[in-house]
């Protein structure tokens, strides 16, 4: 079950503060990194919701992000819609697609579930890739950012945009935490823990499972809008399944089923990518090795392992102090 402990909050705040400081004090490049981390963090949160808490590992969150991005792109570039309603519709499109897939795959599990989401993601990729109208291979350029000039906010300023990205991360985290603490979220965790028993208790389990994928897709859609507005250009590569694979890596790296791990993983992944990328073109190999190492080491991820060790230390201290006060227990 989800529980926002003090450790969770402390680590979240630390990361957000660090990102804030980096954006404000760093230069242009730092702000680009912060947005990149933010997009990845939002995607990772959306995946942790279904995979970590719902137990349904889906491999198409990248594609969902792309669906929202292309929805936004098509509406703003092709139909010249105002960015705000276009963004809302883009997110809605992502959520709808996710819900539909959720309904189709709700009764599959394990590897079938993974493969099904993988395939549907590739379907979206193929549709976009083949569509001349959407720019095909060349993608769509000229996507607008939100225009808040009226209230004195210049979204074209990289610092402002980076701050906007951080705000979105906070909002998405709070939304996910809220969802996990709701009846819906608790039911989802129950289904993860023992689906058959949930059914025997009267829950029609495919419905919450479908809704979980839909909600996750909504959040991933937000990442899509952010990504679209960031580079103001989108290409089919956004929807390729390797992007979804990277999101899964981020979640595992940070810690599956911790929510805070999504933030930790995003920072770690981007740091790794740019850190290694500074030395060599071949950061993929490093990611691959790190991933395998994390899984073989028990799979708890950076924050997961940290939290686990803290818990062990607390239990040992509690046992020690209770042994002292009850020597004959």
């Amino acid at each position: 079950m989800f529980q926002q402990t003090r450790t969770h909050t402390a680590v979240c705040l630390a990361i957000l503060a660090a990102l804030l400081a980096y954006a404000i004090l760093g230069g242009y490049f730092a702000r680009e990194i912060v947005v990149e981390i933010a997009i990845l963090a939002i995607l990772a949160i959306s995946l942790d919701l279904v995979a970590g808490y719902g137990g349904m590992v889906s491999l198409f969150n990248g594609a969902i992000m792309g669906v929202a991005a292309y929805g936004y792109g098509a509406l703003t570039v092709k139909f010249e819609m105002h960015p705000v309603p276009a963004a809302i519709l883009g997110v809605a499109l992502a959520a709808t697609f996710g819900t539909l897939v959720g309904a189709i795959v709700a009764n599959t599990a394990g590897i079938f579930y993974i493969m099904a989401t993988l395939a549907f993601g590739q379907m979206a990729y193929t549709i976009v890739f083949q569509s001349r109208w959407l720019g095909g291979d060349d993608g769509l350029a000229g996507l607008p950012r939100f225009d808040f000039e009226a209230i004195g906010i210049d979204m074209n300023d990289p610092l402002v945009f980076a701050l906007f990205a951080i705000v979105l991360v906070i909002l998405v985290y709070l939304a996910a935490a809220g969802l996990l603490r709701s009846a819906f979220g608790r039911t989802l965790c129950g289904i993860h823990s023992n689906e058959a028993r949930m059914r025997a208790l009267g829950v029609t389990t495919w419905i919450p499972k479908m809704r979980a994928l839909g909600t996750s897709s909504l959040l991933a859609g937000i990442a899509g809008i952010l990504a679209a507005q960031h580079t103001q250009y989108i290409s089919p590569e956004l929807l390729h399944w390797t992007v979804s694979g990277e999101v899964l890596i981020v979640v595992i790296l940070g810690g599956l089923g911790t929510l805070t791990g999504a933030l930790v993983g995003a920072v770690a992944f981007v740091a790794l990518k740019h850190g290694v990328g500074g030395y060599t073109d071949h950061w993929h190999i490093v990611v691959g090795i790190v991933l395998i190492a994390v899984v073989l080491a028990g799979g708890r991820g950076l924050f997961g392992q940290f939290h686990h060790l803290l818990g062990r230390r607390r239990n040992r201290a509690a046992d020690a102090s209770s042994a002292r006060s009850h020597p004959h227990a």
Binding site: A119, M123, T126
Partner: protein, 289 residues
Amino acid sequence: MSESGFWALQLLNALQYSMLLFLLSIGLTVIFGLLHFVNLAHGALYMMGAYIGVSVAAATGSYWAAFFLAPLAVTAIGAVLYFTLIERLRQAGPMNQVLVTFGLIFIFLDLVRMGWGDIALGLDVPQAMAGTASVLAVEYPVYRLFIIALGLLIMGALLFVLSRTQIGAMIRASVENAAMASAMGINVQRLFVCVFCVGCALAGLAGVVAAPVFSASTGMGISILIPTLIVVVIGGLGSLQGAIAGSLIVGFLETMGAVLFPELAAILVYVLLAAILVIRPKGLIPARG
């Protein structure tokens, strides 16, 4: 070109693509059916087969050297992977298997880029197959006919082995119920290794065979993985007949579909996948009843 000639061409193309899919999916499906192991790196092995084939051919000047040595090399790679990682992860659950093999995809991707660079590499077809032959009233490249023939030959061989030989019976028994098979004295562990190696060999073979047609490129493992997975799910995990049926269905759907209704073709495969997942999640010809 005449109308019938055009369709004959499409038919042959579809058949050729199906054979390639078959070579890849049969390895993947039996590995999954027998070892319950999700090997996303199967596509990477295919890619290694292609690149190793290119190097062997360049070094020896002979396509046939590549044809025989590349699958062996890929099998060796597979064996190393099996004993270092895969055996450890067999009980690990699909997510961890996906993660680790995904990590392997990343590693192989960069290994290939480091070893062979980023540009696609070609492999020449053997001199003897360089021309075209007259088949079904069209001129069709002999090499592609070779691919079809090879695929059918291996299909036949595997069908024979699985249904008529003792080892085939042991494999089928172990797919259906490994614990029971083991209790009956079948060395299931050794069978696993054998089957895994054969699966890798077939992937490597598919790679070296495909290289003259598609070129060896860093994206090839990734791009072939999804169609292969779809074949495996549609056909049924662990089933040879399923792999045959699945690869023919997907091969024809993608090839003919691209001609008949180009926009829909790509999506059709996924619609079919969705239908199978909802109506017959065990696939068309499941290995277990």
